[in-house]
């Protein structure tokens, strides 16, 4: 994209200046002052364009500010007691209208080129449907090479445990309220290196192949953004937006991103993690996943209450705690601790139903959780937080539920 003189000069000058610095390869390193070059050709061209424009505006800025400072020193009253009286100059005024215009054209040309290139998502080898939910992502593999019937999909939740981010220092009066209140003054565990970025199930894509993302949303607007792939795309309910990435071979690794459009309470808590693997690895992985998906849900009964509670606790932490509180005390969602809903036998069927089919603001979880996970979490909610019903729900009970 060496299209303009500006551009060549800017990129050359910058590489000279930063030759002593190296960009951290991992986004989670702290060293960046500038836009990351990223790993795809598009992200690198965006970075080049950014560099070009940054240089242009820096030079313009320094020139203008230089004139102002010079004038402030030379044309201050002590130095120049008799002001000039000129108040127009047609030549100058035309000049500083035309020159910026020319500079704009010099910027618009490479910008248009990159934009046209970005717009072309044709001839992709893998298509993944990315759906934003409050507050998680789901990835559905639609087509890969000649295979149009993959049927592999999963949800991806934040993996940073709540103890790491809930560290309130004050309580009462104005703040904090809700789920964090119980944790006031508690010692917080050390934050992980990938704090607020790690997820339970990473999106896995092959290197060296063009991957098309079909981006949409189930509820409010989200935005799918992995900085190292260059650019973001809004996930809008009722719309399917397209974007794409081609990570070159040799650049395998994990790349992180975050939701970039305000989507409510846990906007900051729905990261994106993409694992780029070699094509061979990807083929093995997708074949395994296909097989798992084809064999139907795992309906092996729990060996006992303890096993169901153990699994349910994990599901609760990742899928329920954000709305219903870490200790079932409620929040955006209703409370469980000691409520009729979670303790009375006549509400058991309703309890399963709300999880499977949703109700009002509560989303249906049958697409997000397996019957085994739903059974485990219902068991957990009816036996934790001081609830002592002894109810044990088996995966088959949930699977039979309409």
């Amino acid at each position: 994209m060496q299209s303009t003189l500006f551009h060549r000069a800017a990129v050359g000058l910058t590489s000279l200046m930063i030759s002593g610095m190296t960009f951290a390869s991992d986004w989670t390193e702290r060293s960046d002052l500038d836009l990351r070059p990223g790993v795809t050709q598009v992200s690198q061209e965006i970075q080049d364009l950014h560099t070009t424009v940054l240089w242009i505006v820096t030079v313009i800025g320094l020139l203008v500010f230089g004139l102002i400072v010079y004038s402030m020193i030379r044309h201050r009253r002590a130095k120049n007691p008799n002001p000039a009286t000129f108040h127009e100059n047609v030549f100058l005024e035309v000049l500083w209208t035309v020159i910026p215009f020319v500079i704009l054209i010099a910027m618009a040309v490479p910008a248009t080129r990159v934009l046209v290139q970005l717009d072309d998502s044709a001839e992709s080898e893998l298509t993944v449907k990315v759906t934003g939910y409050r507050w998680k992502w789901s990835y559905e593999y639609l087509t890969y090479e000649d295979d149009n019937d993959i049927g592999v999909s999963f949800f991806s939740n934040l993996a940073t445990p709540p103890e790491q981010y809930n560290n309130p220092v004050l309580s009462g009066g104005l703040f904090p309220y809700g789920t964090a209140k119980d944790l006031v003054g508690k010692e917080a565990p050390e934050k992980d290196h990938n704090y607020q970025l790690e997820v339970d199930n990473k999106l896995i894509i092959p290197s060296g192949q063009k991957v098309r993302f079909l981006v949409t949303s189930d509820d409010v607007i989200h935005s799918f953004w992995v900085p190292d792939f260059g650019g973001k795309k809004d996930a809008i309910p009722g719309f399917v937006n397209e974007t794409w990435a081609l990570v070159p071979e040799g650049k395998e690794g994990t790349y992180y991103g975050q939701c970039a459009e305000l989507c409510g309470k846990n906007h900051a808590f729905m990261p994106i993690a993409v694992e780029v693997v070699s094509q061979d690895e990807f083929k093995t992985w997708i074949a395994e996943e296909k097989e798992k998906a084809a064999s139907g849900p795992d309906l092996t009964p729990f060996s006992g209450l303890d096993q169901a509670m153990e699994e349910g606790k994990q599901v609760y932490a990742s899928a329920c705690a954000l709305c219903h509180g870490a200790n079932g005390e409620g929040g955006i969602g209703l409370p469980f601790a000691g409520t009729d809903f979670a303790t009375k036998p006549e509400h058991l069927n309703e309890h399963i139903d709300v999880l499977v089919n949703g109700r009002a603001a509560m989303p249906a979880f049958k697409a997000q959780l397996t019957p085994r996970q739903i059974a485990a979490v219902v068991t957990y909610e009816r036996n934790a937080f001081g609830n002592d019903t002894g109810d044990l729900i088996q995966p088959a009970d949930v699977n039979d539920h309409e």
């Binding site: 390193e29 702290r30 960046d32 836009l35 950014h50 424009v53 940054l54 505006v57 800025g61 004139l67 102002i68 004038s71 402030m72 201050r76 120049n80 002001p83 000039a84 000129f86 108040h87 127009e88 100059n89 500083w96 209208t97 215009f101 704009l104 910008a111 934009l115 970005l118 981010y165 560290n167 309130p168 220092v169 703040f175 904090p176 309220y177 809700g178 789920t179 964090a180 934050k191 607020q196 509820d219 409010v220 607007i221 935005s223 900085p227 650019g231 973001k232 809004d234 809008i236 009722g238 719309f239 937006n241 939701c259 970039a260 459009e261 305000l262 409510g264 309470k265 900051a268 808590f269």
Partner: protein, 535 residues
């Protein structure tokens, strides 16, 4: 001047000037209403600033330490709304009320009773909006205050909005009515009440920029009213303007909002251009360079503001042709804006400058607003905007143009005209402290936001990954510092209101030009009862 005449003047004033609460509640006097607007906007500035302090306290370190993410979102939302609609806009309306009649030689605004009404709507509008925050804060977050960002994108604000969204809608309608009435008043005043000889092209630039601002307000506030009305019917009357499930379109909301929203940002900055164009010539002791081109540049910016709105929405998935159109148009705005900056520099050039407080704020405005303008040009470049969009880079950009731009110019105006308003000079020591603390802290606050944005931190995040921690720490320190610095201005303003300080002459700045300096300081209750003649 005989003593008899002076006594008569006093008597005249006393006879007509009401006192006490009635003076302010029933006022139809442009100066009193201007004063009300200015005090109100400063109160809102402090309220919105307090919310910013909550935001910065939470972001001081990674982790949730002070507030719940839900309350954090309420803070970012109401901070934005209060600052835009409560602080910047009413402040410029206050300046317009005070200064436009004085500058064009009119005895008052053309529609004085409407003037009273347009102010007195505002305290109620903001009482409604802020009541939702107070209920939320003292009610354990329930009911929630508006939490969908000042841009209130659907469906977050419609199907998923809290109950208080209806309070927000009512409050925005009231603010809109107030703004439209204020704008109509300016237009009618400027067209009908100019003194003999005050032709359009002789008007001070502040009057010009406000005239153009008023037209922008009349054009776009109804669009905002339409947007919130559609929200209201979507929420309660079964329509689906913004709901895809009912055949509507969530992106339509963004088009409608930004068709209002982009001209809105010029509504906030154009009066600043007028202020700075008055102050720089006064302290450079040299006429404004390129008066006519300033007028044309302002008009061009205003016209262009109607065809650039979708640059706020480059990531929604517009067709390529649309994206290119909005990119080119947006880049074009930098031409007239550049003309303005160059004109200010040329005004300073070979002048005889002194750096009293108004001039300090004005020069800081020119430099820092230009920084915001240049980052705006970067944001116009669409492919790069795909990376910048909704990160702290954008937050840095619009705080440079709104805080170190609009608000710095409002402070410049306050220091410039306070002698005229109050009859005493603003306290120099407090003023200097206010300026230098604000200047340094604002840059500590907003400059690192560029870096943390480029590094990839999305905006409106209640918590963030560890690589952003260092920047956020310094940004928060800058934030607290900037917030505290504004208390100094409160002291300056209170001292002036109490008439404590050096007595101001009719024209305290030797290089200042304009009719406002021909009346005594403080400006008497009634001025230009007989219009002056402008040569």
């Amino acid at each position: 001047m005989s003593t008899a005449a002076a006594t008569h003047d006093d008597h005249h004033d006393h006879h007509h000037a009401p006192t006490g609460l009635k003076r302010w509640l029933f006022s139809t006097n442009h100066k009193d209403i201007g004063t009300l607007y200015l005090w109100f906007s400063f109160a809102m500035f402090l309220a919105g600033g307090f919310m910013a302090m909550v935001i910065r306290a939470e972001l001081l370190e990674p982790g949730m330490q002070f507030v719940d993410p839900e309350f954090f979102n309420q803070m970012t939302t109401v901070h934005g709304l209060v600052m835009v609609f409560g602080a910047v806009m009413p402040a410029t309306v206050g300046l317009a009320n005070w200064m436009i009649p004085l500058m064009i030689g009119a005895p008052d605004m053309a529609l004085p009773r409407m003037n009273n009404w347009s102010f007195w709507i505002l305290p109620f509008a903001f009482a409604i909006l802020i009541s939702s925050v107070i209920m939320s804060a003292f009610g354990d977050g329930n009911p929630s205050a508006p939490n969908f960002g000042w841009t209130f994108y659907a469906p977050l604000s419609t199907k998923y909005g809290p109950d208080s969204t209806d309070l927000f809608i009512l409050s925005v309608h009231m603010m809109g009515i107030s703004s439209i009435m204020g704008a109509i008043n300016v237009v009618v005043t400027v067209f009908n009440m100019r003194a003999p000889g005050m032709t359009l092209m002789k008007m001070p630039l502040f009057v010009w920029t406000w005239l153009i601002t008023a037209f922008l307000l009349i054009a776009v506030i109804p669009v905002l009213a339409g947007a919130v009305t559609m929200m209201l019917t979507d929420r309660h009357f079964g329509t689906s303007f913004f709901d895809a499930a009912g055949g509507g379109d969530p992106v339509l909301f963004q088009h409608v909002f930004w068709f209002f929203g982009h001209p809105e940002v010029y509504i906030m900055i154009l009066p600043s251009f007028g202020i700075v164009s008055a102050i720089i010539p006064a302290f450079a002791r040299k006429p404004l360079f390129g008066y006519a081109s300033m007028v044309y540049a302002t008009a061009s910016i205003a016209l262009l503001s109607f065809v650039v709105w979708a640059h706020h929405m480059f990531t929604v998935g517009m067709p390529l042709a649309g994206t290119l159109f909005f990119m080119y148009m947006t880049m074009l705005i930098s031409v007239p804006t550049g003309v303005k900056v160059f004109n200010w520099v040329a005004t300073m050039w070979r002048g005889s400058m002194s750096f009293e407080l108004p001039m300090k704020w004005a020069i800081a405005f020119v430099i820092l607003f230009t920084c915001g303008g240049l980052s705006g040009l970067m944001l116009a470049i669409t492919p790069v905007d795909f990376q910048y969009h909704d990160t702290y880079f954008v937050v840095a950009h619009f705080h440079y143009v709104l805080v170190t731009g609009a608000i710095f110019s409002i402070f410049a105006a306050a220091y410039y005209w306070l002698p005229k308003w109050s009859g005493v000079m603003p306290n120099k020591l407090l003023g200097e402290l206010h300026f230098w603390n604000s200047l340094i802290s604002a840059n500590l606050l907003f400059f690192p936001m560029h870096f943390v944005g480029l590094a990839g931190m999305p905006r409106r995040y209640a918590d963030y990954a560890l690589q952003f921690a260092d920047y956020n720490f310094w940004i928060s320190i800058g934030g607290f510092w900037f917030g505290l610095s504004q208390v100094l201005f409160l002291a300056v303003a209170v001292l002036c209101a109490m008439k404590k300080g050096e007595k101001a002459p009719a024209k305290p700045w030797d290089g200042a030009e304009g009719l406002e300096w021909e009346v005594p300081s403080p400006a008497p209750f009634h001025t230009f009862d007989t219009p002056p003649v402008v040569k």
